[in-house]
Amino acid sequence: MATTALDHAAPRYRTRSALYDWLTTTDHKKIGIMYVINSFIFFFIGGLLALGVRAELAQPGLQFMDESTYNQLFTMHASAMLFLFVIPMLAGFGNYAVPLMIGAPDMAFPRINALSFWMLPLGGILICSGFLVGGGAAQSGWTEYPPLSGAAFNPGSGTDLWLMAVTLIGTSSILGAVNFIATIFKMRAPGMTLFRMPIMVWTMLVTSVLVLLATPVLTSGLMMLFIDRNYGGGFFDPASGGVVVLWQNIFWFYSHPAVYIMILPAMGIISEVLPVFSRKPLFGYKAFIFATAAIGALGFSVWAHHMFTTGQVFLPFFSLMTFLIAVPTGVKMFNWIATMYKGQLTFQTPLIYSLGFLTMFLIGGINGAFHAAVPVDFALHDTYYVVAHIHYVLFGGSVFAVFAGIFYWFPKMTGRMLNETLGKVQFVLLFIGFNLTFFPMHQLGLSGMPRRIADYSSSAGWTDLNLVATIGGFIIAIGLLPFLFNVFISLRNGKPAGDDPWEANTLEWATTSPPPPYNFDHLPEIRSERPVFDARHGAATGH
């Protein structure tokens, strides 16, 4: 664990106060940390909304709320989790890590970076203010299909606030994507060719391309729905000549690539952690890059698999493309396993969360494949089977990867290690709680329980599994308490980390923890995708 002493001539930045510093900063590291904190706040908000949903569903009968409130809870749960937690959290990791990993002093457009961040708390406040207006918050599902989401059936402002907030959050994403792409292409240190960049950087690059191309299409749809709701527009109104499923086509043209936006950076994190904790390079570096690009490209060709039951899509094409996208995903899985093969694994928290990711994402990928078979989708669409699928890939996948990333990079961000024991306790609780909540949903969906229902009859036979799922949900909530405690005590008293506590591979570990504002005093020679590893072992190992 080497420690670098900063050059005595290095400038010191004096600011008026810490608060002013953070509010006005354009430093990608501080902005990245703020992204992470803001995202965690909305993770907890989204989680509370989920607990409300689970509490109501534990038993038949409406015990705690009316149907409209229930519909708001699941709508806002998904909206908060997807738009305000997963996507920005991964963007935050990217913001922190990408300039460091390519040896740059900051992002290409630091002020736009700050703007991108501050749009998020604003968007979050806007979307949540729906709870305070007449009629309540948006309540037609995070997918907001018209005519239900139109003015005739949801006249209150909640849906309009949702539309405005998502537009704002989408704009934040798009500006971030411009920043990432420009930074990655223009700000790499000497020797850092494209094919020596860490996989995390590659996944952020492909993700940013997806954001750039897909998010504006969602924006156009949001504008159309806003016009329909408020100005008598007829985009989605058959009586005016509009087409109802036009919304679904536009929405899913974005929202399908969006799920790759939500998983690719997570896969990037796993691809950084596994090699470090196996003490071997990532197996198949170039294959990884091609697989990532293939997922990105194919991701634009599958959107209508969310619409198989509408009777208005060309089924064979979308079914084929959906099956095909399993192939590059499988390639990644095999490459990760091959990275561990013949390695020397040390079971510290980043690795443990990565292993959880591998298993949970495997299940999520497999249960997704069932839906690619169109007749099976006819049976399972809009049932709890889909809820199982999305949570296995988003929670079992992205969230576990996020925690792997937190435990991995917290030392770099703060200079202190997180407590390993608390991290392992958290993992066990999350793992058990997660599987208890979401595995039974396979059974519930197969037996016919639809999604988005506030209540169900006691004769349906769904009561026991719903109760189990609710218990699991509360275990997840309990499992997050050790995490909060861990962060709190580690910030104060955590073991000092030094530059490189994990004996890692990439450039962020070549500077202090936390890095100085300009990131690097000096850079090691960059001759492979593991420059710090090469420097530690005295020889270039690579390409």
Partner: protein, 216 residues
């Protein structure tokens, strides 16, 4: 840390060389940023066009009954198109001027560009008033909705471009640009050309494409 990496890397290869003008060659960061942003703007309009063609294909006839006679190339939309296309030319003349350090030529051409842009907006506004009073409104079924939505968002982008050009013109007039430093001019001109190209696509689609009868 290895001993041989103590020396600072030479300036030409410094990590900050992507800023402003790139000593290694290639386009500058601000121009790359604008190009990427324009990609996203293209996708935004792509969504609107996709919606338009979708509802058009689903309609039994297009323009729908009762709306056959609203959108005409003369006297307003055609000249507006010519004016916007002309403004792209003058904009490019301005860029060429500043590239060869002809600051007066730059200011002249950019002023004309700005004026033409404002004239375009005035013609559009006039056209809107005429059409609205004739009975084509946002809630005139899907025909009115798509017309105003698409041209309206385009007009908003023209307005944004007018503001951008005004700022660039002001900066040029106070002497902030030279042949070596004028990234904002390059970026703003790219945006202006984009706005023009989108209009050509819109004009062709909304005004020039032949209608359909009994299809869909």
């Amino acid at each position: 840390m290895t001993a041989d990496s103590q020396a600072l890397t030479p300036v030409e290869h410094s990590p900050v060389s992507g800023l402003a003008h790139d000593a290694r060659g290639g386009i500058s960061n601000p121009v790359l940023g604008m190009l990427l942003f324009l990609v996203s703007e293209v996708m935004f309009f792509a969504g609107l066009f996709a919606a338009y063609f979708n509802v058009r294909a689903a309609a039994p006839e297009w323009p729908p009954a009762g709306y056959q006679d609203f959108l005409h190339v003369l006297p307003l939309a055609g000249p507006a198109t010519a004016i916007l296309v002309l403004s792209s030319f003058t904009c490019q003349f301005a860029v060429w001027a500043i590239r060869r350090d002809d600051r007066a030529g730059f200011v002249r051409n950019l002023t004309v560009t700005l004026a033409l842009g404002i004239v375009f907006l005035i013609i559009q506004g006039t056209d809107y008033i005429v059409l609205w009073t004739e009975g084509l409104t946002l809630d005139s079924g899907i025909y009115g909705t798509t017309f105003y939505t698409m041209t309206g968002f385009h007009g908003a982008h023209v307005l944004g471009g007018v503001i951008m050009l005004s700022v660039v013109l002001y900066r040029g007039m106070v002497g902030q640009f030279s042949a070596r430093h004028h990234d904002a001019v390059e970026a703003a001109s790219l945006y202006w050309h984009f706005v023009d190209v989108v209009w050509i696509a819109l004009f062709t689609t909304l005004y020039l494409l032949p209608g359909t009868q009994g299809g869909g």
